[in-house]
Amino acid sequence: MTKGKQLKKRVLIVDDEEDILILLKKVISRSCNCEVVLATSGLQALEIAESWQPDVLLADIKMPDLDGLELLKRITSLDSTITTIIMTGYGTIEMAVQALKDGAYDFHQKPFDNDKITGSIRRALERTHLLRENRQLQQQLGKPLFKTGFVGQSKPIIHTLELLSRLATSYATVLIRGESGTGKEVAARAIHSMSKRADRKMITVNCPALPEHILESELFGFVKGAFTGAETDKDGLFLEADGSTILLDEIADIPVSVQTKLLRVLQEKEIQPLGQTKTIKVDVRVLASTNQNLEEKMARGEFREDLFYRLNVMPVILPTLAEINEDIPLLAHHFLKEFTLEYEREELEFTPEAMQFLTQKSWKGNVRQLRNTIHRATLLCRDQFITPEDLMASTRFDHHSQTEPVTDCAFLRGDYKEAKEKTVQRFTTAYLTQALKKSGGNVSSAARQSGIDRQAFQRLMRRYQIISEDFRK
């Protein structure tokens, strides 16, 4: 958000009794750290509100020219982010109900407790702040700011974007590093799309997804008869990426034998398909990404040092979501917009409390986890407003459905027993989740389909904290 000098919050108080005004001004300006302006009639208050734009209006009901309830209506139509609190000396419950129905935020009866009224003013100021921030973010989203795929205005993001755009113009090999979910592939796409090669398709290879031999033949291609089953020639992905960019995703996981061949491509800019003696010149920009510690891998002899230095010509380190915490509201609105469009639920909005929840939660899975949480909340939320409960219900899935596959390498390290337990937990939660999804949350049917006793199925659900309600449509 705009940093700069924070303006003092503004409270407008209107009452026809001057003694009360003076008393309230003293109490509120002292304990709420805000500017207070007073008005002695409804019309005067309306006039001040138009020019001074207060955050909160505290209004008495009984006033000679324009009563508090009418003033509330006019103020709301003037600026719906102004939060109004009504006070009265002759309050009835019916009157309070009417004021609240008309959009008042709170209702106080005179004589009132100073702490109660200042507490109420503070909450009202916070509400207005969140509403205005929300409105501002919505407006920013309307502008075509985000061609790179990155959303954010924090220093680390702006710095990253500058770096990416500078790298885009060069032909250098780029190593993109960052924790899982920070957007390494997005960064690679940004580099490609800002480069002169943008009109050609970028080729992405998910290295750990392919077994050693297949990875080699996929990358470099083969000729007929190179090995059993090689019935025709096949171009490799490097040849396919000729004139364009190739992204080697999760480069840390490629076997040493392939690393050697890769080094050759980077040094000589040529490939040698399996079973062929001639080499082929290629013009490919190589981008590589990893979330692992390559220095450690080098020390253990699992990653070639010379390849590391070839790749690490231009390193880009992506910030974690904790480092760009101030961008969470912007990101959240961006993802919400994306999913509400996809599911045709344009009416969905975050409540201020939901936004607070998002900014305060710790996101180990970074932007991807935030995106997934909002995705699920969009699907789970039945109302017009996404509440912290909807978000909590959807983060509950997080320890169930991790983004990495069960065979993820980072996961298979450490103590055997512990690793096994974790794998089993991950498997079981994924299995149960899938079964319950299929049955629409019907436990008996899910158990039957899985060939397990219903009680046993329920026991597993309890152990892994899976709730059938989460899957009911």
């Binding site: 309050g91 419950i93 309070a96 109900v97 609240l100 129905k101 709170d106 209702f107 106080h108 009866q109 039945r382 109302d383 017009q384 409960e389």
Partner: protein, 119 residues
């Protein structure tokens, strides 16, 4: 005619309300236990819930929040013998359409129910 759920911990109150509203042609489901009312809400469509605030274990406003979560379209009237500004504010912010004070007379109740159902 509407499907109406009534929840009040006083059995006589529930019976009386049911009598009035059934005569209007509505189908009325009565409960004195909050859990039973919520369980009912899990499986059946409700057009209008009429809830007392002071219940045995939970507050009627919590029940309102849960039912609204299950059925956002549902209308609601809160009925209470102990009206306060705080509960009125909470009830309305959780989606109640009316907040009425007990005792409520037959005519007023019928009018409120019709008004809320037409919203």
């Amino acid at each position: 005619m509407a499907e109406i759920l009534i929840l009040d911990d006083v059995f006589d109150a529930v019976v009386l309300l049911k009598k009035i509203l059934s005569r209007q042609g509505h189908t009325v489901h009565t409960f004195t236990e909050e859990e039973d009312a919520i369980k009912y809400g899990y499986k059946h469509h409700i057009d209008l819930a009429i809830l007392d605030i002071k219940l045995k274990k939970m507050s009627g406003i919590d029940v309102l929040a849960e039912l609204k979560r299950l059925q956002p379209e549902m209308k609601a009237i809160i009925l209470t013998g102990y009206p306060t500004v705080e509960t009125a504010r909470d009830a309305l912010s959780f989606g109640a359409n009316e907040y009425c004070v007990k005792p409520i007379d037959k005519k007023e109740l019928e009018a409120k129910v019709e008004k809320v159902l037409q919203l």
